[in-house]
């Protein structure tokens, strides 16, 4: 089942990333690109947190409060 629609990352890939040590949304992002798509994780962030919480027992509230960095939206290279 697809979890990150923008980057087409499946639930299995995310579980695999957690198995190889991801313990935060940033960790999953680095390993799979989930959350780095067009919507910058707006759609899948909560879902990633839910899977991480289910697999590791870390409360999803703790996971979701991670710090965010700019840009919030993808920037087109030609306007920079």
């Amino acid at each position: 089942m697809l979890i990150c629609r923008c980057e087409e990352i499946t639930e299995e890939e995310i579980i695999e990333a957690i198995r190889t040590g991801a313990r935060s949304i940033a960790g999953i992002r680095r390993r799979t690109r989930a959350g780095m798509g067009l919507c910058q994780g707006r759609t899948c962030r909560r879902l990633l947190a839910g899977i991480l919480a289910r697999e590791t027992g870390i409360p999803s509230d703790d996971i979701l409060s991670e710090t965010r960095r700019p840009p919030l939206r993808p920037l087109k290279l030609n306007i920079l």
């Binding site: 697809l2 899948c44 979701l64 710090t67 700019p70 840009p71 306007i79």
Partner: protein, 528 residues
């Protein structure tokens, strides 16, 4: 390259919160710049074609988009500086905002920043959720109400909060068929008056149910739903498949205050407001001085609350720049805070008044929404059932039984016959002696919760006047079906009168003649 502009107060998001903040700040003569990524201001309001609940001070009884138009007109008159089609992509050292539009990036340096970026819709993954035809309720609303495209013909709505209920109703108004609405909890979370609109049209509301799978080749062709156990896990063997072409998800909103998070403001978890929200002081200021958050971004709530929070933030920001004396600011903020306090009473009262069941009927889980949380007796106005038959003049029957923040019935009645009073979450009470039977309250009630009953129409028939918001409009002397609260046909009825003046803002009053014995049960019509 970047052009650095400056302003005094930068406001991000031009929904009701941002607009209200900009209006207050500009009134105080501060220089405010309002930024929104859309082509026009208004935020959520522009998708809302229904009459809002809330207090009259916040435009209740007026359709959402019209509240938006009024706010925009005021902002324009005051000369608020607007940057549309412009997205804030970041907040950097020294309160510099990164802006971008189609063509360029810019920087805007502000002394104060008000974040009013609203909320984002939650997703719900299930097998098939990426099929075309699965969409959020907000997306469906944008298609129908902004682009005037019907998202589908046969719809399953997932989620029974106010958003799900209202969007389901709008889909039906737009001509789609609502196959069912499923809600995982054992009761719907939205207001009873909104659910009642769906039930009256014969729609199924299934509580303790959720979607299990969307099926289809290139597009949604069907949806599989299942009953849930109290732990919200599907119960095997309870699956049912419905033929649908659209699945709408309305499973909650998450406050969108990323910009505050990025700036390093402290957050706390508030489940009832949709997740992590910034820690705010009395002035809607975050833990970082000069950065404010208002509206849904501060916690998911309602437009009326968003406006008051925006006002407070706008006043506080102008005050801290020296544009308003602290004494004056205190008075202004107190006005907003009092109204906020009143609106929030709903959180402290319990929403548990049962729906009065005149026919003595309580519906099973598949037959209708369950609002019942307690066995307490139905409200007073239904207790006069037996005496209704003996009424000598037309009288409104108000089926509004939850403590919701709403009072257009009270404020619209020219004879002051309906009292909600304070707090605004009180149930409406009718004084039959003052009522003239004019019917104005029926058209103004955003819950469409009132019908007018005239037992004196003829020896055998009563006249029932109901609010009607579908197309096509029936015509006088048409024959229609008179239906009860659950959309079940009671009898054939002749349309006697239609009132649809401008002041009713497109809620028509349709009066039908029905046999006296069933009159009390008639809650709607269906055109056959």
């Amino acid at each position: 390259m970047d052009r650095i502009k400056t302003t005094e107060i930068a406001i991000i998001g031009a929904g009701p919160a941002g607009l209200a903040a900009a209006i207050e700040a500009t009134k105080a003569r501060a220089r405010a710049t309002l930024i929104d990524e859309n082509a026009r201001p208004g935020g959520q309001l522009f998708k809302q074609i229904h009459k809002f609940f809330g207090s009259q001070a916040h435009g209740a009884g007026v359709r959402g988009f019209q509240i938006g138009q009024e706010l925009c007109a005021e902002a324009e008159k005051l000369g608020v500086e607007l940057l549309l089609n412009t997205t804030v992509y970041g907040l950097f050292e020294g309160r510099v905002l990164g802006l971008m539009n189609e063509h360029k990036t810019m920087s805007l340096k502000a002394e104060k920043i008000i974040i009013a970026t609203g909320a984002t819709e939650n997703a719900l993954p299930f097998p098939g959720w990426t099929l075309p035809g699965v969409m959020t309720a907000g997306a469906a609303q944008t298609m129908m109400n902004i682009h005037r495209v019907l998202p589908g013909k046969r719809v399953l709505m997932v989620g029974g909060g106010n958003v799900g209920l209202i969007v389901a109703y709008q889909l039906m108004q737009a001509g789609a068929e609502l196959i069912a609405l499923v809600e995982a909890a054992s009761q719907i979370g939205g207001y009873q008056v909104h659910a009642a609109k769906l039930e009256r049209a014969g729609a199924k509301i299934l509580t303790s149910h959720s979607i299990k799978e969307a099926r289809g080749k290139n597009h949604v062709e069907s949806a599989v739903i299942a009953k849930l156990n109290p732990g919200w896990q599907p119960i095997e063997g309870t699956e049912r498949e419905f033929e649908v072409d659209t699945i709408c998800l309305s499973v909650g909103l998450t406050p969108l205050a990323e910009i505050a998070l990025m700036a390093g403001c402290e957050f706390r978890y508030a489940k009832e407001r949709g997740g992590h929200v910034p820690v705010l002081d009395e002035d809607m200021q975050t833990t970082l001085s000069g950065i404010y958050v208002a509206g849904d971004a501060a916690g998911v709530d309602e437009a009326s609350i968003a406006m008051e929070e925006g006002r407070i933030a706008g006043i506080a920001a102008a005050e801290s720049l020296g544009y308003i004396e602290s004494k004056q600011a205190k008075i202004l903020k107190a006005e907003s805070k009092n109204r906020l306090f009143e609106l929030k009473q709903v959180e402290h009262s319990d929403l548990s008044r049962p729906v009065p069941t005149q026919a003595g009927r309580r519906r099973g889980e598949d037959g209708g929404a369950k609002y019942f949380r307690s066995e307490s007796p139905p409200p007073d106005f239904m207790e006069c059932n037996d005496s209704i038959a003996a009424l000598h003049s037309p009288i409104p029957i108000i089926e509004c039984t939850q403590y919701i923040p709403c009072n257009p019935c009270e404020t619209s009645c020219p004879s002051h016959a309906i009292i909600v009073g304070k707090p605004i979450t009180n149930l409406p009470k009718l004084d039959p002696d003052k009522c003239t039977g004019c019917g104005i309250c029926i058209a103004c009630c955003p819950g469409l919760a009132i019908v007018l009953l005239d037992m004196t129409f003829s020896d055998t028939e009563s006249l029932v006047t109901i609010p009607y918001e579908y197309l096509p409009m029936p015509r006088v002397s048409d024959e229609v079906d008179a239906v009860n609260r659950y959309g079940e046909t009671l009898c054939k009825a002749k349309v006697i009168r239609i009132r649809n003046p401008k002041s009713f803002a497109k809620t028509a009053l349709v009066s039908i003649a029905v046999p006296k014995q069933v009159a009390i049960e008639v809650k709607g019509i269906m055109i056959v």
